[in-house]
Structure formats: C-alpha cells, structure tokens
C-alpha cells in the first residue's frame, strides 16, 4: 500500500503540509490501469508509471498523484522487472491480460483511465527498421472492453500511435467513434524549452528545420513531434502532409546546397545546442559548424547523416536532420513571414530523473481528471505517419513519396503547453 504515514511524515520539515493541489478532494479519486510492455529501471514504463505512484513536480510543488493506479498489465516481466515490487508497495494488482487489468479482475470496466506505454522490451523489428511495439494491439484490446462494457474512458498512448499509419488512423477513428479523450506522443512537445519561445499563434511560417541525432524510427519521431508542436500553430492550422522523402549521406549536404533546407535555420538551431560534437567534446570550445565546413566530418564512424524532408499541404516545407556525432540534443528553428526566426532547444533534463516525464504525465493526469485531452491526438497521428513514410522512402531508394492519405487537419490549442 501507499505508505501514507511515511508520506505525511515527509511533510513537516519539508513544508508539504497543506495546499498541495488536489491532495485531498471531496470527489472520489479516479483509478487508472497501466498497460506496459516493461517496467524496468529507466524504461518508459517505470519513469512514467512511477509518476502515478510517487508524484511529480508541478508549478513549484511536489504534487501527489491525483489518480490511483488500480491495476497493471506488464507484458514482459524479466529479471529486472519492478512491477511486482511496485504492486506490493503501492497496492495494485497485476493482471495477466489487458482486459482483466481494465476490469480489475471483475466483469466490467473498473478504471477511469488507461495509460498505454509500449516502449522497450523484446519485440521484432521489420525490414524498415521499425520495432513492432504492440501499441495498436493494446489499444484495440482496451477499445474492445469499452465496447463490450458500454463505457469508454480517457486513454494515453506513449510515443508513436503505431509503426503503421493505417493502424494509427484506426486508433484515432476508434477514439472518435466511441467519444473518449485520447492523448499520445512524445514528451518533447511538453518539455522545457531554452529559450521558452513558441511560434506565435496564427503566424505565417515560411520554412522550418529541426536537428537531433539517433535513428529515424526511434528518435527522429521525438524531434519531429517537437517541431510539429510549433508548426501546428501556423496560420490556417494544420492541413497535413503531401509528400515525404528521406535523404542520407551526401544527399543531405547536397540538399542543403540546393536550398532544400536552410543553412541559416541550421545555424539558428545549432546555436541552441549545448552538446556539439567534435572539437567541443575534445576541449569544450564553441563552434560555428555551419560555416566551418566541418559538419560532414563530424558524422560518427559507421553513422550517416539523415534528413526527413516534409512537404505540407499548405506549401510549408520542413526538414528534420539527424546528425549523429554533431550534437546530442534536440533543437528547432522556424522562419516566419517577417523573416524573424524562432529557435529553441527542446531541453530534456538529464538521467536518471528525466524530469520531462513528469511534465508529460501531468498532462495525462489532467486529462483523466478533467475528461479532456489537452492537445489533439492528430498531431501524433501525423508524426507517426510521416516517420513511417520516411522509412518507406528509404526502402524505395530514397524517393519522394506523395502522401494524399496524410491530409490530417487539426487545430492546435492557442495556449503553449510546454514546461515553464
């Protein structure tokens, strides 16, 4: 069980008495089911799932969870599994199936929210390099319960909706059909920014670029979703994507020479990085990498530069550069119609705390408590789809692929929802 006495014991000397938002409320506390592939140290299942057990910092206070974990499903319980210990300490039950977890072992849906975390664990990889995490399948099982039991509750899905754009689309359709709040995606859109800037709501955006490192499926998704959370604020709202192309190696640099992505925007994005490679690793010197000509030489041995080139239906063009060896953080730059450039780092606080997971889970908790998703799941439908299509482009010899099926239109919330 939650050691309430120990928790309250912590309150005195640390001033926790009174005022912690939502710590005690007249309304009955909502219950959630945690559905995860894995619950091991620093897996998404752990660092996000634990937020609902031990709380997270919010607005200058350590916030006790406002919802209770009632049940969990953990697909792979290996030697390092923590879920058994957590269940014992915090008083929830681990069920062998998702259906049983959602019904807490009873006959009918018995939770008020479902958190699906299908990241990490042993799952096969397809020929495109996508790990086939069973998020769609987990979601479908939840939807089945909702349908059978005649009640649906808010769902959060960590990271991509699915490796498959069709599956992602079906998930969004199901949520619409049954009318439950559905939130998904990366923590990058809601983490801290240095500086804390956004695209002004309704601004005309001319071009955009994001830069990070890592693989297309695993990491470009994060960087792109950060960028998309800025771009969706542009004039006319989101209209979807008409074409996607992946570039690799020399083609990335050639595209820059041809103006298909902007050196000026790359300079702006790199100016926000704290983690340049090469000589900055050697002796911590700052570098003007766009002008020095050293960029291509910094790509790590065995790595290659990659760029996801994205054409939107309203004519906007964006590039997501993945430059292993050049930097170790995520940055974006957006040129507005008045030639102003908005640039920032999506700041990921360091391990082991990865404090961004608290920022994301605060939005999830708020959705479950309020019954309203804070930002549209269509964002993640679009980013999931574009990332998959970039891998299709790679498979098709780096062709530009048209994407009429990605005419995913949505309106962004006016309020910026990143951490500040």
């Amino acid at each position: 069980m939650v050691d309430r006495r120990a928790f309250l014991g912590a309150l005195g000397a640390l001033g926790l008495t009174g005022g912690s938002a939502g710590a005690d409320s007249a309304a009955p506390r909502k219950k959630i089911a945690l559905v995860t592939t894995l619950w091991e140290y620093l897996s998404h299942g752990q660092h996000m799932g634990d937020r609902f057990l031990v709380g997270f910092p919010l607005n200058g206070r350590w916030q006790r969870p406002r919802v209770d974990v009632a049940s969990a499903f953990v697909a792979q319980r290996r030697d390092n599994d923590l879920s058994g210990q957590r269940a014992e300490e915090f008083g929830f039950t681990i069920y062998p199936t998702i259906t049983e977890a959602l019904r807490c072992g009873g006959e009918r849906l018995a939770v008020d929210g479902v958190v699906i975390i299908g990241e990490h664990g042993d799952f096969p990889m397809n020929e495109k390099g996508q790990v086939l995490y069973p998020r769609f399948e987990y979601f479908q099982e939840a939807v089945q319960v909702f349908e059978q039991d005649g009640r649906a509750v808010p769902v959060f899905n960590d990271k991509h909706l699915s490796y498959s754009w069709q599956k992602a689309a079906k998930m969004v359709q199901d949520a619409r059909r049954l009318g439950f709040p559905f939130l998904a995606g990366s923590s990058v859109p809601v983490t801290y920014r240095n500086p804390p800037v956004d695209v002004p709501y309704g601004a005309e955006v001319v071009e955009a670029l994001a830069v990070g490192m890592g693989g297309v499926d695993h990491t470009a998704f994060h960087v792109y979703e950060g960028l998309q959370s800025m771009l969706e604020r542009r004039r006319g709202g989101e209209t979807g994507v008409r074409a996607v192309q992946l570039l690799e190696g020399d083609a990335v640099w050639k595209a820059g020479e041809e103006g298909r992505w902007s050196h000026r925007l790359l300079e702006a994005a790199l100016s926000r990085s704290d983690s340049l490679g090469g000589d900055s690793v050697l002796d911590s010197r700052p570098q003007d990498l766009v002008r020095s000509g050293k960029l291509p030489s910094l790509i790590g041995e065995g790595d290659t530069a990659r760029a996801v080139m994205i054409e939107y239906n309203d004519g906007l063009r964006a590039a997501v550069l993945m430059l292993d060896g050049v930097l170790g953080d995520f940055n974006a730059a957006v040129r507005l119609a008045d030639d102003e450039i908005v640039s920032t780092q999506f700041y990921a606080p360091p391990e082991p705390n990865v404090a961004y997971s608290g920022l994301l889970m605060a939005h999830v908790e708020q959705m479950i408590v309020s019954g309203k998703a804070p930002y549209p799941v269509e964002r993640t439908q679009l980013t999931s789809s574009v990332i998959e299509r970039a891998l299709d482009s790679q498979q098709a010899g780096y062709q530009r692929l048209e994407t009429p099926e990605f005419a995913i239109a949505y309106q962004a919330p006016r309020e910026s929802l990143f951490g500040n």
Binding site: L14, L42, V54, G60, N194, S275, G277, P350, P352, A355
Partner: protein, 437 residues
C-alpha cells in the same frame, strides 16, 4: 578574521588618491555615444587555461564565438593579449594562440596589458583566477590571486594614466578587505568593474524573475555544498533575485553558520523564528530541481523524506543571513561530501508578502559546452563596449562578503556574527539579466 571597521558607502570618496588625469578613459568608454574607431582589444588574465577551466569557457567565447539568439555570435572585440599563470600539460592556451594569431601570450600581467609595450594598450581586461593550484587557508578558502592580479592591473593603469573596464570572474576575492579595495579603486579611478558567477545570468526554469519591488519576507537557496567555491554560486543566485525587492538592497547585518547537530535542529525547526527556515521554501527549491538524487533504489525521481536527507547528506550546512531591512535568507547546502547528496542543481525560493512562493531552478547545462558562460560573456561584451557594468558589482561585493562571513562563522564554532561592513546599499537594475532569449 577582523572585518574592517570602514563602512562601505555607495559613491564614497576614494580610499586611494588618484590624480584626475587618471580618470580619463578612452572615448569609447564614456557612455558609448561615440562609435569606437576600432574594435576594442582585450587582455585576458588566467590562472590556468585547460578544458572546462573558467578561462577556457570565457576566453574561448571571444575567440571562437558562441551560440546566441539564433546565431553564431562573433563578439565585435578581440582578445589580443593573454597571460596564463599555470600552464600545465593540459594547457590549451598555446593551441588557442596558434589558431588565433591576433592573441599573443605574454609572460607577465603588465606585459599583457601593454601588449609588450610600456603603457596600457587594451580596452578591457578579463581577470579569471579560478582553478589551478593555490593554497587554502584554515577556513577552507582557496587563495586564488584575484586581488593580486587586480593590483597589477591598477599599477599599469596608474603608470599609464589610462584605465579600462575589468571583469572579475566569480568572487572579487576570498578576502573582504581586498574585495572592498577593488571596488573602491574602480570607483576612484573611474573604470567599469563587473564580477560574479554565471548563476544570476543563466537560464531559469521557469523563466521568471521576482516581480520588481515585490515584498519579500524570506528566501532559501539550495545546492550540493562545497564551502567557499560552492557557496558563492548559490548565494549570488539568491541575491540576484532578492535584490529586486521593495526598498532596494540595504545589505546584510548578521550571519550564522549551522553545521552538524545545529544544522539538523534547524532542519527540523520548520520556521525561521524557531531557528530554522520556512519549510515551504525548502520544499519549493527541491520541487524545482531536475536533479534530485534518487533517495530509493529503482526510483529515478522521487521526493526525499527528511530521513532521506539526513542519510544522504549527513554533513549538510547552512548560512542564515539577516538583512538590514529585515529580510531573512538561508543558504542550505545539502552537502554531498562523502555521501550521495540530495540535489545537484541550484534552486531558489522566496516567500512574498502576499504569502505566495516564488521559486526557480537556475539551469546550468553541463554538456560538451558549458553554455551558462554565454550570457555572462554577452554581459562582459556590454561592459567592454560601454565601459559600464550591466549589473552592479556591489552585488558581488556583497556576496563575496557574505561568503567570507559565512565561512568565518563556521570557523568560529558557528557563532552568530554581526556584519556591519555588509550593511551597504546598492541599486539593482530593473531589467532582468538572466538568459531568456
């Protein structure tokens, strides 16, 4: 330590007699109305210049440029002369001079300031004496030679009949009398003096400042410990916030250090009046942290209990400062020492007059680039271009004195010490100077 009896008075007459002729700086230093005819030239004085040394971070940004507001910024001024006192096997200054031939290395401070000639021949001086091998005293202060360097700078100014602005990294000195003399000398001779830590000017999470002229009752700053060198950073982070309070800064009238059992009694007290601090403020600082040390195995981000804090930072200590206007502030160093520690980043919280708590994390990005030096360098550029420090050196004079007085109280068995020498006033700038854009 014997505090000087001499009260520091803002704008006081010079302690040193300086002929009026010496007060004349180059044209570009007077208000900056006249565009300089040439790029300002800088002499950098460094105790050491190796990877991650403060001199490397600061001088490199003048040599290589740095990321700033969406550009790779190239300061419109040049470091032309460098003095490095301790150049060991890890020295980078030779490599830097090789790639940046406009910067020459000189064997003495005077030669650097005169670029090998006989009179001052630069338009600004960087004094960066942090790191390197220097003795410490029995109070745990490292005797970095900032004052000694400063004296040599002033000697050149005197003999040249010309002055130039000076930036002093971190404390002004380990010694209050020295620090006071440095500030009085700059006043008397009429050159801009800027000093301090990068903590007041780095990113904050959230990106907020204390409302100007807010009523502040009590403040707490928390970090990971490190007497002297680790103290001034968090003291200055707090001071840059509380100096904005109603009535302006009027200084500090007393300090008491707490360590050992006295610290833990204060920790349990729950309020200033009971001998400790406002527990909500310590809570707020820890709740802002991105780097709480996990207090339980297998948990990555979890709020420590009081028992956890005792176990993880048994050699914690604190300085309780009483300000002249009644403000109370506590620096709580949850000292890592031989333990795990509790918190790895600097956080500050303040109780405002309306009962609200203001709190921020002062974010130091520790990656390949230590970019918290970037806003500091940007402010140094302003100092050198205009001749005027963008924020008052008196802040660092006060924090230098607060640090030394705190260590003195520790050395005197945690006796509460009156600090009449620290009850001076200064006027902070209304514009927030931390990194926001």
């Amino acid at each position: 330590m014997h505090f000087t009896r001499r009260q520091f008075l803002a704008g006081s007459a010079a302690a040193l007699a300086v002929p009026p002729a010496l007060l004349r700086g180059p044209a570009l230093l007077r208000g900056g109305e006249t565009a300089p005819q040439r790029r300002p030239r800088i002499a950098a004085l460094a105790s050491t210049y190796h990877k991650y040394a403060h001199a490397q971070h600061i001088v490199d940004r003048f040599l290589e440029g740095y990321g700033w507001e969406g550009r790779h910024r190239r300061p419109e001024m040049d470091v032309v002369a460098l003095y490095v006192e301790q150049a060991g096997p890890d020295d980078l200054s030779r490599e830097r001079a090789g790639r940046h031939p406009q910067m020459k290395i000189y064997p003495t401070i005077a030669e650097a300031l005169c670029q090998g000639g006989s009179a001052l021949d630069v338009d600004g001086v960087l004094l960066i004496a942090e790191q390197g091998s220097y003795p410490s005293n029995d109070k745990g202060q490292t005797l970095y030679p900032r004052y000694e360097y400063f004296r040599q700078i002033v000697d050149v100014y005197r003999s040249s009949g010309r002055v130039a602005p000076v930036f002093v990294d971190k404390h002004l000195s380990w010694n209050w009398d020295y620090a006071l003399e440095m500030v009085e000398t700059s006043r008397a001779m009429g050159f801009g003096l800027m000093a301090g830590s990068s903590l007041p000017v780095t990113w904050r999470h959230p990106s907020r400042d204390l409302p100007w002229q807010a009523d502040v009752r009590e403040a707490v700053g928390v970090w990971r410990g490190g007497p002297d060198g680790g103290d001034i950073h968090v003291i200055e982070a707090l001071q840059a916030i509380v100096e904005r309070r109603r009535g302006g800064e009027r200084g500090v009238r007393a300090v008491q250090a707490l360590r050992g059992e006295a610290f833990w009694q204060a920790f349990d007290a729950g309020s200033w009046d009971a001998g400790g601090w406002d527990g909500d403020l310590l809570h707020a600082t820890l709740a802002r942290s991105h780097e709480l040390v996990p207090s339980r195995p297998t948990f990555n981000h979890i709020f420590p209990t009081p028992e956890d804090i005792r176990r993880m930072a048994p050699d914690s200590y604190a300085y309780r400062f009483e300000y002249a206007d009644g403000l109370r502030a506590t620096i709580i160093q949850l000292n890592e020492g031989e333990g795990q520690g509790v918190v790895r980043d600097v956080n500050v919280a303040a109780r405002l007059g309306d009962g609200e708590v203001f709190s921020v994390l002062c974010h130091l990005p520790y990656r390949s680039l230590r970019n918290f030096f970037s806003p500091q360098v940007r402010h140094i550029e302003t100092l050198i271009a205009t001749g005027t420090a963008p924020y008052p050196v008196e802040r660092t004079l006060l924090t230098t004195g607060m640090t030394a007085a705190g260590l003195e109280s520790l050395a005197q068995q945690q006796r509460k010490l009156a600090t009449p020498h620290l009850t001076f006033t200064y006027q902070p700038v209304q514009q927030s100077m931390f990194w926001r854009s």
